[in-house]
Each structure stands twice: as C-alpha cells, then as structure tokens.
Symmetry: C2
Subunit: 338 residues, 2 copies
DNA sequence: CTGTTAGCGCTTTCAA
DNA sequence: TTGAAAGCGCTAACAG
C-alpha cells in the first residue's frame, strides 16, 4: 500500500502539495470548493500528517516532557492526570520520564531532552539531586521549564507548590491539640524543598506552643524503605515517650503504622499519627489515617497550563508566575461498627 | 547563540556534514583521530542531535505510545514503571495517553498515533470500547501493537495477561474453604476480557463445589463509583445471607468495605472479602484485605519487551508470542496488637 | 577515509 | 486562488 502523504493527495487531486497543505490547515487563501475536495479525500484515505516532518519544519514538537521521580505514588499519578488533561486540551502530547530519585538519571534525561524533542518540561526534582547545572542549562537550550511540588528555587522559573509550611504547622498543632507532647517528625529528605518546608512548619508550631526543639525526634528518611523502618524501630524503642508522629510523606506514614504495631503501641491511644497522603483508602486503615492531602490533580493541571501558555506565546517564564495551592487536613472517622 | 547542529560542527572542524554524522555514530569508516576531534567539539558545544530530523529521515521515532484507561490506579502505575524501564534500556521514549475508559477518546488517540509519532503501541483497552475497528486499522498503518491486561482477542497480536481465570477460581475456593456459602461477585465490566475471565473462574469454582449459580449475586460495576456503592448497598440489604465478597478490582473491594461498615456487617466475622489489588497498604486495612495481586511491573516490562523486539527486528507480532503471568493470592495477617 | 548529493514530509516564502 | 521551490537537520547511497 502506497503511503498516504501530501504528495499522494496532491497527485490524486491534481493539485500542488502546497495547496493541499494549506487546505488542510484551513488557510484563508484556498477556495472553499478545493478545501472540500481535499478534506474529502484526506478522510477517505485516513490521511494523518507526519508529526516529525511538521515538527522539523516548524521547529516545535507539540510535546511536553514530564520528569518525575516515580509514578507509583498517588500524588504523581494524580498530577500526571492533570497534566495529560491540560495537554490534550491544547493538542499537546506527554512524554514521561522517571528518575527514580537518581541524580545521574535526571541529568541524562535532561541532557537528552535538549535535542528538541519537547517544547517544554514539567519537573519534580529527584531527592538525589544536589547540583542543578543540568537544569540551568535548559535555559540556554531555550526550553521552558516549570517546577511542581519538588522545586529548586535557585532556578528562576515558575513553580507550582502547595502551602507545605502552613499545612505542616497546622498538622502539628492538630497533634498538640490532641494532647501530644513528644511528636516525632519523619522527614522525606534533607535535600528537598518540600522536606525543608514541612520540617520548618513542624518546628515553628512546636516553638509557638512553648515546646523545646528535640533533634532526636526528627528522622530523615532515605530511598531505602527497609532502612527507614529499621531506624524508625530504633527511634520508637529508645523513645517510649513519643506520643505523636507527623510523617512528611505517605510511605513513611504507612511505615509508622507498621512499626507501632510491631512494638505494640496502639494508634491512636498511645501514638497519634498524621501524614501527607493522597491515598483515598486510608480511611480503611485501622484506625483511619489523618492526612494532609495535596490537590495533586490541580497542581499538574496548573503547572501544565503555565508551561503551555508560555510555549504558545513564546514568552519566557518568570518566577512571578508561580502558584501556591492549598492542601487540606482531612480527618477521617473510623466507620467500623459506626 | 547560533544553533549547534551538524552543519555548525562541520564548519568549525572543516569537515563535511556527512563525516561528522558518521563520526558521532561511531561508524567504522571514520578515522579514530577524526572521531576524537568531532566528539570533543560535540561535547564542548553540548551538541544534541535533533530527534525529529533523525526520525523523519530514518522513518522511526524511537518512541512508543502507551494507551491506558487511567494512571491513578496502582496496577497501571506499576505497569508504566515496567514499561519505562524496558524502554529506557533500549533507548526508547514513552508517550502516555489516558482514555479515561472513554471509547471516543480511545478512537481519537489511536487515529492520531497513526501519524507516525510512535514506532509501536502498548494498550489496555477502555471499558467503554465495543467496536475495535480503530484498533484493527493500526495493522494497515503498519504500527505494531501489544495488548496488556485488558485485551481484545479478536485482534491478532500478542497479549500479556495474567491467569485471571485460575486466580479467581482459587480466590473463590479460598472463600468457600473459609465457610462462605453465598458469595457475591463484583464485576468490573461486562465489556472487558479481564471481567469475563474473572467471573468465569468464580462461577466454575462455585459449580465445582456443588453450589448453584445465583445471578443476583453478580453485580456489574460502572465507571461511576457512587452508583456502584448505591447498588452494592441495595444488594447487601436485600441479601443478608451474603457471607463472602469477591471483588474483581480494587476499587470495588474498597467500596465493599465501606458498605459493609455502613450496614454494620463485620468483616471478616459476617462477611469475608477478597479482591484484586496492587495496593501495598491494604495490610493496614481493618481488617487487612486478602488480595489477588498481579505482577504489574513484570506485565509492563514484558509487554514492552515483546513490542520493542518486534520494532527493532521489523518483524510482525503474532498472537503466539503472548505471555501469561501468574498473580498471587496474598493473605495478610492483622498486625494489630500482634 | 572523506565528500557530494539526494531526499524524508512538511511549511512557507515568492511568484504567477 | 494556486504552484514552484527552498529548506528544516539529518542519514545514506554513491563517488572518489
């Protein structure tokens, strides 16, 4: 079967390639009659323009790249959902790249994307990333970038985040109000913006309520979850006075539940737990987990919106376009034998 | 800043474009010395080949498309993980498209992909899909396709699935062994291969144990979860004899928990529940959910492997390359005050 | 070992 | 309103 491209259409219609191209783009300089003829044949032959030829010529790919640590995390899954929605609405495609929180991978991915495969990039940085030269180099390559959730403020671009500081402050106050006096904080990583903000909210809330800071109660997680569990066990055993846990990320909240059970510490009687999470089924946990839930879908949609607007208008993105959305503290009742 | 492309490199090195191109591809017909000079400048100028020019010329995009119903579902998230891994290893990129279980979207996406944007497609069909003409048309467009999980066997291509029938049979027997005699089945959709296979496993297990089929115990879900919950409430109220629930998908298992609680039916004393699920934290449910867990990551990796092999060898894919992986019945102990 | 040349499919001046 | 022609950046004959 002969390929169906502009040349083919032009031949069959006795028109020039240029006219066919213009007709399909609904150009004003083509007669209605010709447009009709062209369109008819195009649909009859199931013509689909070659995206690469078009991209090469126009120097734009109608594609955005999404660079995230992982997709097996409800937050990122929801964010992708929002991104895909915004992209589709404007006719853009979405390439996914997973860093698995590995710095080297992140560098390789970014370097590769500078080949013009994408018109813009949405990114949530890896926890292993310290140096950000690779990200800065995107500016030279003229590829717009918008950060979401895990940002690096030293890079001058827009970022879409949530009120991590405030919601962490609020979550800590929630535990304090429930009577907790020795609240542990499970930190995702020292490296990440979100980790630092959440930690600060926790610290300031304690301070505001006259509680002294206790560095021993702050546990920094790693990428290795078994290791986290081990350290958490140590902490809980050495500090039987712990009566509250604030987990800065879902994975650690889940680990906290497991460890408490192993050690026979009852939730919520002995230890109260609050954690960041986007998992709906936490209300089936025993007992239900109180969460700070981020508007993940909106974050993705908003980030994509900002990026695509800049791409289409060929305007640079400035930090002033950043957006902060609000997370929600969700307290779930146990429905067990309600 | 002048663009850095082959022409630019050639000029600066006083070589022809062709030689530079060959040098960068490590062609045997270029002297080691020249290769060195070329590579040095290329890295110095951060040269990155234009993916679209290359794709246009070679008529291959080094990109695969993944068409799935949704990403906010741990099964698909894990599958993407596996796909991305296999793709990256071979230097391929991954485009994501979400159908949201909508037939029209699926058709539009497939049509669009015929424009040559991808070298192959991995797909899990939408529950809203009845007619599959759009999928068949991929064959004419010469785009290889591999199904995973939600397949359509009338289309002659490879598919990667799990032993849904057997694991459903086993799950049903598990409930029977636990003493259940009136087991409800929550079906994901009449339309889907996985739904039919799981239903059949359930039916045959009941039959093998001498229990008569009871169509009233089979509840077909829809995309609207509130509606599902409503129907489930009705069912449970009209049939107080129900003492077991087998949910063919995670979402329905979670709903089953909620409904049982609303109605004051204790799990597992009054009603035992088993469900397909890839969520790790089900062990924190109250009580822990017994699950059939699919090897989602492997499914994705395997599907990508089959597809990419065909793409690279330019070989057609035949149904004989299909693979069936095994799910696992996971019974979790309650760790509460263990 | 290196250069010349044609062309992938499309868009877009410029000319008619 | 239509056509001819150049060229996006790259690869791959073919020639030397």
């Amino acid at each position: 079967m002969k390929p169906v491209n502009l040349k083919r259409l032009a031949e069959e219609l006795n028109l020039s390639i240029a006219t066919v191209s213009r007709a399909l783009q609904d150009s004003y300089e083509v007669s209605a009659a010709t447009k009709e003829r062209v369109r008819a044949l195009a649909t009859a032959l199931h013509y689909e323009p070659n995206a690469y030829a078009s991209s090469l010529r126009r120097n734009q790919s109608k594609t955005i790249g999404v660079v995230i640590p992982k997709v097996t995390n409800h937050f990122f899954a929801l964010a992708i959902n929002g991104i895909e929605e915004a992209a589709r609405q404007r006719g853009y495609h979405v390439l996914i790249y997973l860093t698995h929180d590995d710095y080297a991978r992140e560098v390789a991915i970014i370097q590769h994307l500078k080949g013009g495969r994408v018109d813009g990039i949405l990114m949530s940085v890896a926890s292993g990333t310290e140096d950000t030269a690779h990200i800065r180099s995107l500016r030279d390559a003229n590829i717009p970038l918008v950060f979401f959730d895990r940002v690096r403020s030293e890079i001058a671009t827009a970022q879409v985040t949530t009120n991590d500081y405030e919601s962490s402050y609020q979550a800590t106050e929630h535990l304090l109000a429930a009577g907790c006096r020795h609240i542990a904080h499970l930190l995702i990583s020292n490296n990440l913006s979100i980790g630092r903000n959440r930690l600060q909210g926790y610290r300031d809330a304690l301070h505001a309520h006259g509680l002294p800071p206790d560095p021993d109660l702050i546990l920094a997680g790693t990428m290795n979850n078994e290791q986290n569990v081990g350290r958490l066990q140590d902490l809980m055993q050495h500090r039987p006075d712990i009566d509250g846990i604030f987990a800065s990320v879902e994975r650690l909240a889940v680990s906290a539940y497991h460890v408490c059970r192993q050690l026979g510490r009852r939730i919520p009687e002995d230890v109260k737990v609050v954690g960041f999470s986007n998992l709906e089924s936490v209300s089936l946990f025993d007992p239900p987990l109180t969460t700070i839930t981020q508007p993940a879908h909106d974050i993705g949609r908003e980030a994509a919106r900002i990026l695509l607007q800049a791409v289409e208008k060929k305007r640079a993105i400035s930090p002033s376009q950043s957006v902060v959305l609000n997370s929600e503290l969700v307290q779930r009742r146990s429905t067990a034998t309600a």
